[in-house]
């Protein structure tokens, strides 16, 4: 194993070396960094050219310049990393240091949402293979596959941002919207739950009435103008979540799990008002992290005390429920800032922005009087559109992949054995089939997470974010080799590491596959 690992790492280093040499020279041949200045009519042209030639070391041939650059990178091994300066004079390490958090913020949420949603829908379509729901999802995922992200982004800007902001001036849902919403929900739930005609009719009717009625209630009570969750939503939503999680995780017949999950809802409601005192305007990040950890611990403890035997599934169920309820309370606190936020002079009732990472004026205001929640809400609203765009694009892949894998696993002999033993369908699907179908997905996930830092060039450009993608684009057009290589070395290192990690993970998860035994 160790020999295998060291051999693989050595190979990776050689590949990285070769590919960075290749990219460096490719970009050096691609264009002349002085072209723009040579064409300009600046009287001090000659001096600028001389200065830039010295700054960028243009008199050294590119292959040799590459090794100079490489020397700086290698000296990073003894803590003296030299990535050089960008053309603007800013240090590359600093530029990347600023860009990385932005990019992570931009892409991480989208990736996680796409994975969770994609796997969920993929599992449902596999279980409902060849149903109308399956065909509809197949069509939609093909459509999403075929969408260019820049096109989606412009559409989202137009309809979701501008349209929604216009609607917010008078946030009342008309009848066509209510009926449309009800119909969509009816079709979705009827497709998911399936069954014979009678059952479909009942499900569709219930879903229609419930969704349309709920939306009407929200609209009529003016909830959209000042949205908060409040104890009522948290109670009802928490109850539904607790039951849903218990169903998927252990089955409702597991009394301890059900009781532990329900207790979590009760605890959440009980601490709702006290916890507001902790979540003040200048609450520190550490307090929030502490609260999150505490939530998980409380969930695990509740599971531990409720179950007399076979504790792990119960603890898992109650911990997941606790986290969801905690998330609701967090969201509720965030939504309490909504009214002050939208009525802010710089927002003036148009809360969904089309461009940018934060509202500059709000950022300035926050410098004077810090408010964690207002700032978070501002960032959150700015991230909504890019996240939706990125999610739409990568969601389809997960749906198709999960569906294919799960169908393959469901046809295996051991699934038939599990069914023949008399296990419940839930256990067969969730424990025997679903878990095994996730193994090949780890490869896809490893690649996706590696792609996070490099990805999103187009998204960043459309939504005006300055992350790694923007650095990269700027570096290419201005022939800024240090900047280009700085971003490249990070993305490519991540990519090759992801490849190695996914191989190792694969062999760890699937004992039939063994790495390092000859080639």
């Amino acid at each position: 194993m160790l020999t295998y690992l060291s051999r693989r790492v050595a190979q990776l280093l050689v590949i990285l070396l070769a590919s960075s040499f290749f990219v460096y020279n490719l970009e050096a041949i691609a264009g002349d960094p002085l072209e723009e200045i040579k064409l300009s009519s600046d009287p001090k042209k000659a001096q600028t050219i001389v200065a830039l030639t010295r700054q960028l070391d243009l008199n050294t041939p590119p292959p040799i310049r590459f090794f100079k650059w490489l020397g700086g990178i290698i000296s990073g091994l003894w803590g003296n990393l030299q990535m050089g300066n960008a053309r603007t004079g800013q240090s590359v390490a600093e530029a990347i240091g600023n860009a990385v958090p932005t990019t992570i913020r931009l892409v991480l949420a989208a990736t996680i949402i796409a994975i969770v949603l994609g796997i969920t829908i993929g599992v449902i379509t596999a279980l409902r293979q060849y149903s109308r729901f399956d065909y509809a999802v197949t069509f939609i995922s093909f459509l999403f596959f075929s969408l260019p992200i820049f096109w989606v982004a412009v559409l989202l800007k137009q309809f979701l941002s501008i349209g929604f902001n216009d609607w917010l001036a008078n946030p009342i849902l008309d009848w066509p919207w209510l009926v449309g919403f009800g119909i969509v929900s009816a079709i979705f739930w009827a497709g998911v739950i399936g069954g014979d005609l009678r059952r479909i009719a009942i499900v569709a009717g219930t879903a229609f009435t419930a969704s349309a009625g709920f939306a009407w209630l929200l609209s009529a009570t003016g909830w959209f103008a000042s949205p908060v969750l409040g104890p009522i939503f948290i109670g009802v939503g928490g109850l539904a979540t607790a039951l849903l999680i218990t169903t998927a995780s252990t089955g409702l017949s597991n009394k301890p799990a059900r009781n532990a999950a329900l207790t979590m809802v009760a605890v959440g409601l009980a601490i709702y008002y006290p916890v507001q005192l902790v979540l003040t305007k200048n609450v520190s990040g550490w307090v929030l992290i502490g609260l999150a950890v505490l939530t998980v611990i409380v969930g695990l403890l509740a599971g531990y005390f409720f179950a007399k035997e076979d504790r792990a599934p119960v603890m898992r169920t109650s911990a997941i429920t606790a986290v969801v309820i905690g998330g609701m309370i967090f969201l509720d606190r965030l939504m309490q800032e909504w009214v002050p936020y939208v009525s802010n002079d710089f927002v003036s009732y148009r809360p969904i922005p089309t461009i940018g990472q934060t509202n500059d004026m709000i950022t300035l205001q926050l410098n004077d009087e810090p408010d964690f929640w207002l700032g978070s809400l501002d960032s959150l609203l700015h991230i909504i559109l890019p996240t939706i765009a990125l999610t739409i694009i990568s969601f389809a892949g997960y749906v198709r992949y999960t569906r294919g894998n799960l169908l393959e696993v469901l046809n295996m002999d051991y699934i038939r054995t599990a069914r023949a033993k008399g296990l419940t369908e839930r256990t067969v699907v969730m424990r025997h089939a679903f878990r095994n179908s996730l193994i090949p997905l780890t490869t896809l996930m490893a690649w996706d997470f590696a792609g996070i830092l490099g990805g999103a060039i187009i998204t960043e450009s459309v939504f005006g974010w300055t992350g790694m993608g923007t650095l990269f684009r700027v570096a290419i057009v201005s022939f800024d080799l240090n900047l280009l290589m700085g971003t490249f070395i990070i993305t490519s290192t991540l990519a090759v590491s992801a490849n190695l990690i996914s191989d190792l993970l694969y062999s760890a998860l699937d004992p039939r596959i063994r790495v390092g035994t000859g080639e």
């Binding site: 070769a18 590919s19 691609a30 459509l143 075929s146 260019p148 820049f150 998911v192 369908e425 490519s492």
Partner: protein
């Protein structure tokens, strides 16, 4: 969600179904089988017809434009406007609604007097250029790049994968490390660097360069397929019979791997059109004065609120082409998959029963 499934029961009566399924494929060659399965895939057939229509329509309307800006090779199409022709902007009451300028003349409602294409079916851009001509040229360029990338990727990937998988050993090691090397470099970097350098040499050159770097996935697939196929009995038999390496590769192994290659190349083409339009959107691919679907969207993205047709048409063409190709690829995958069997419907079962009686 966890209801008992019907096909559990169906599996137990599998032998009957096998009989029905086997009856259907009796006496057919592999090619006939594949064709039959493909034709039966309704989505793929609709997609194929649509795609053929789009391609014929585009190329007949726009003609063919090859070569670089300096020495172009042009075959004219039937559409009477070129992409540089300036005509008067249409505006005013009774012509365009809401005070818009250059609105589309396309009328799909046959009861209207102005039914048909009209003078500017897709409208005009801000300076009066005919948008139909622009979109057709963009589609022409994008399809061309897509086909070149797919074709180059297919050929190089197959050759490298086949050599690596068949000869194994050191050659395999070297070729696979080369593949790893190229995989490390994200497509967008290559596209950006290349596009920036050769984007003005015309789309064919751009496509060729991009194709040089888009074979890696296929090479790995083909290598895997060759590695397993070369150990099979029929290959041993051919070798014992004295067949040369060339003959074994081309006559014995390649025909068995052709399914995987065709499917992969088809699906890669939908990725290729998205790559090209994405690059052109960023300004790295096809550059002005030439147009591609991506550069059209990039140019007119801000006029969405006032002249939405400038935004809808190129997007519509990108999506239709990519969607059609994805469906065709899906149909091909099902058609080439030997495990794939048609769902036996009640009607089939009934028919089989009456036939045996």
């Amino acid at each position: 969600m966890f209801g008992k499934k019907k096909n559990v029961v169906e599996a137990s009566v599998g032998s009957g179904e096998n009989a029905i399924a086997n009856k259907e494929i009796e006496g057919l060659s592999q090619g006939q089988l594949v064709r039959k399965r493909f034709v039966r895939h309704r989505g793929a057939m609709i997609a194929l017809v649509t795609l053929v229509f789009i391609v014929l329509f585009t190329y007949s309307a726009s003609g063919l434009h090859l070569g670089s800006e300096k020495d172009p090779i042009t075959v004219p199409g039937w559409w009477h406007y070129g992409i540089t022709d300036l005509s008067d902007l249409r505006y005013g009451d009774g012509v365009c609604d809401d005070g818009a300028t250059g609105c589309p003349t396309l009328q799909l409602n046959p009861t209207q007097p102005n039914f048909g294409l009209g003078d500017h079916p897709f409208g005009q851009d801000d300076i009066g250029r005919d948008y139909f001509a622009l979109v057709m040229r963009g589609t022409e360029q994008s399809i061309m790049v897509m086909i070149i990338i797919g074709g180059m990727g297919g050929i190089i990937g197959t050759v490298i994968g086949a050599i690596a998988g068949y000869f194994r050993g050191r050659l395999d090691g070297f070729l696979m490390r080369l593949t790893d090397l190229i995989i490390t470099i994200p497509a967008i970097i290559i596209g950006a660097v290349i596009g920036y350098k050769v984007g003005n040499l015309g789309v064919v050159v751009l496509g060729l360069y991009l194709g040089l770097f888009s074979w890696t996935g296929l090479a790995r697939l083909v290598r895997g397929e060759f590695l397993s196929l070369r150990e099979r009995e029929f290959v041993d038999a051919a070798r014992v019979a004295g067949a040369s390496n060339r003959r074994i590769i081309f006559k014995h192994i390649l025909p068995n791997a052709v399914g995987i290659i065709i499917v992969s190349v088809t699906l890669s083409m939908s990725g290729a059109i998205l790559l090209e339009t994405g690059l052109s959107f960023l300004g790295f691919g096809v550059v002005a004065p030439d147009v591609s679907l991506g550069s059209l969207i990039s140019t007119y993205q801000d006029s969405f609120a006032t002249r939405p047709w400038l935004f809808w048409w190129p997007g519509l063409f990108i999506i239709s082409i990519a969607l059609c190709i994805n469906f065709i690829g899906d149909g091909l995958r099902d058609a080439f998959d030997p495990r794939q069997r048609r769902r036996i419907t009640k009607k089939d079962r009934q028919r089989a029963l009456t036939a045996t009686k």
